[in-house]
């Protein structure tokens, strides 16, 4: 039986690097979320992929907000799409990018250097 998959097109790199996108195929299961797919990618395909999350499934930490197909949403709340058309994942707009999908979301007073 064909394995069910979804496709993700992810913006990569740190703030100083030119913009680039990479595309990945990930396993799809009914009900799976975008965060499930990102965690799978880190465990089994590309451990260098940077994402920010803490509570995984409860949507209480609010750390996993990214832009999904151009719309800001939580990766843990957005269902993965089983489709040949990739879902495009980008860091939050108008926040400084640290790496890949991770932006500087710490409140200014909670940073080491109060930048």
């Amino acid at each position: 039986m064909m394995k069910r998959t979804a496709r993700l097109r992810i913006r990569r790199g740190t703030s100083g690097e030119p913009v680039r996108y990479e595309e990945f195929a990930v396993p799809f299961e009914d009900g799976a979320t975008v965060l499930d797919a990102l965690i799978w990618l880190r465990s089994f395909h590309d451990p260098t992929l940077a994402i920010r999350y803490s509570c995984i499934n409860a949507n209480v930490c609010k750390e996993c907000a990214i832009a999904i197909d151009g719309v800001v949403d939580y990766a843990c709340m957005t269902r993965l799409r089983e489709d040949a058309t990739p879902m495009t994942l980008e860091p939050l707009p108008e926040k400084p990018v640290l790496r890949d999908l991770v932006t500087e979301t710490r409140p200014p007073r909670e940073r080491l250097k109060g930048s």
């Binding site: 703030s15 640290l98 909670e110």
Partner: protein
């Protein structure tokens, strides 16, 4: 390189860490550094709490903290550290009233008194909560607000403490990694409080935040402190299993059972708890250790649900009652395709809380002078099985006590750090070296995945000598091979680097659990041995774990 000097360093900014910071500042500490691996007040276990907070407030009916203590000791299956359990029960009402004054929003009865429900193991209605399923987020937000009002507290997120530094056997500060920048940080402190939570993330099925990886235990062991009761991992019996549910914590069925009862059924739709000595004729009364064991046995006997758990059903509860008890949550479930009035869900045990932890006295002081602990990181108060509702009071009570003790300790000491570049050079060099990258053919993220599978299979709800030995041997090999784990070069938010530190901590914590479990040749509370199914009354004692000079785990005698 950044060097920080502070009176008190608090590692972990969940409920215990935030309360410790507040108490330290109230006690006169001039500078408190509140550091978290994740974001301050957002990660950890506190924010995940769904409902119950136990305290003998006596709002529903007369109650005494001594009655709460009786229930805590009974739940602990003869193993509680009574001094810690007493502190927890005696001071819980003070902290819960203080949270009320800070407007956490405890649910009220129609007469204005705080509402309290009866949770399994409690003889009286004693558990307050914030509706709906909002206890944890409300507690965390309330503490964040109090913390932000105190000028003495400096908060830093994404700061990963990698080593506690000692000078002449006393805690003198820490080495940390600023994950956002990928730079080493040195922190000189007169006292250190470890409030980094538990280790449930090292099990495949868990209800933990990503950062509950055992860091606090590894830090304490390496600094020379003892751990206690490490074999006792609480598996929450009815963690959500299927259908896939997003936006809700997997332990969310507990509040439903408090308010509505519900029925646990095997794969054939038959009730089974009575076969394990716990009929629920009087409502939701089965303790967590017994329910976990019962579900595990039903599934092993081939009577499980399709996804390998059992069914939880509220189909007998009238829809109007469902709506009244959980209003907006019913709609959230419907969006996940779950019509609670019409179908059962599948549930199964899930690693939820760690009874074991850092051995401390009533002042939350470890055996290392200047090193304190608070919250879930502390071991002993809950014995072999934690009573429902004791985790949040433990965070608040132990946090307050640890902050106050650390402030008193720091008040009469000076920084003993010396010239920073000469202190803990090895730890600093390691961070700098790892930031430059490390060659290897295996990623820490895949080893963490293997660790979770292995711990679930061999050190999970049902254990045996053979499985525990297999786990111990593989864990030791993984720890020995840490220098061969690949780290990609890169400073800013390099997860291959932070994964490496997480793996290092998780392996030590996992070994501590495994060796403690091997040493306890009986079944008691959350520790169930297939090969020693009976409780042995001669083993009603706690055991300590210490790190030997060669970095191996040593299990001490009973005490």
């Amino acid at each position: 390189m950044t060097h920080i000097e502070t009176d008190i360093l608090i590692v972990g900014a969940g409920g215990a860490g935030m309360y410790a910071a507040i108490a330290a500042a109230r006690a006169g500490a001039g500078q408190v550094l509140l550091a978290d691996k994740s974001l301050v007040g957002r990660g950890g276990a506190t924010v995940m709490a769904q409902m119950t907070v136990a305290a003998a407030l006596g709002e529903e009916c007369p109650d005494e903290w001594t009655a709460h203590l009786d229930d805590t000791l009974a739940s602990g299956r003869g193993l509680c550290d009574e001094a810690l359990a007493e502190l927890l029960c005696r001071e819980a009402p003070i902290r819960i009233r203080e949270m009320d004054a800070w407007r956490v929003g405890w649910a009220r009865r129609t007469d204005g008194r705080i509402a309290q429900v009866t949770a399994p193991g409690h003889a009286r209605p004693r558990c307050c909560y914030v509706d709906f399923l909002n206890t944890g987020p409300a507690v965390a937000a309330t503490l964040r607000r109090q913390v932000s009002r105190l000028d003495a507290i400096r908060r830093v997120g994404n700061l990963i403490v990698t080593d506690i530094v000692t000078a002449d056997g006393e805690a003198a500060g820490a080495i940390a990694l600023d994950a956002a920048a990928g730079e080493a940080v040195t922190i000189a402190a007169k006292a250190v409080v470890i409030a980094a939570g538990g280790l449930t993330r090292i099990f495949r099925r868990n209800s933990a935040s990503a950062n509950m990886a055992g860091d606090g235990y590894a830090l304490a062991l390496a600094a020379g402190a003892d751990l206690v009761d490490m074999e006792f991992v609480q598996f929450f019996p009815i963690g959500h299993l299927a259908p896939r549910l997003v936006g809700m914590d997997p332990i969310m069925w507990d509040p439903f059972r408090y308010k509505l009862g519900g029925r646990l059924l095997d794969g054939n739709g038959c009730e089974f708890l009575s076969d394990y000595g716990s009929d629920e004729a009087a409502g939701y009364t089965t303790p967590r250790d017994i329910a976990t064991y019962a579900i595990h046995k039903e599934v092993a006997a081939g009577r499980g649900s399709p996804h390998g758990g059992v069914y939880l059903s509220f189909a007998h509860v009238p829809r109007s009652e469902l709506e009244a008890a959980f209003g907006p949550v019913i709609a959230r479930l419907a969006r996940n395709g779950i019509d609670l009035g019409n179908m059962a869900v599948e549930v199964a045990p899930i690693a939820h809380y760690h009874m074991g932890g850092i051995a401390v006295d009533r002042d939350m002081a470890s055996r290392v002078p200047g090193l304190f602990a608070a919250g879930e990181a502390v071991g002993g108060a809950n014995g072999a099985n934690r009573l429902s509702g004791n985790a949040i009071p433990e965070a608040l009570v132990f946090g307050e006590r640890a902050g106050r003790s650390a402030a008193a300790y720091a008040a009469i000491r000076t920084l003993s750090w010396g010239e920073p570049r000469h202190v803990a050079a090895a730890a600093l060099d390691r961070i700098r070296g790892l930031v430059a990258g490390q060659r290897g053919d295996v990623a820490a993220s895949s080893l963490l995945d293997e660790l979770r599978e292995l711990m679930w299979r061999d050190v999970g709800p049902c254990r045996s000598e053979a499985g525990l030995r297999r786990a111990a041997s593989r864990l030791a090999a993984m720890r020995a091979a840490l220098s061969e784990v690949a780290i990609a070069p890169g400073a800013a938010f390099n997860l291959t680097l932070t994964d490496w530190f997480e793996l290092r901590a998780s392996l030590i914590a996992a070994e501590a659990v495994t060796h403690a479990a091997l040493a306890r040749r009986e079944s008691r509370g959350a520790h169930q041995r297939e090969d020693f199914p009976e409780t042995d009354p001669s083993l009603a004692y706690r055991r300590r774990i210490r790190l030997a000079a060669d970095s191996t785990i040593r299990v001490g005698g009973f005490e």
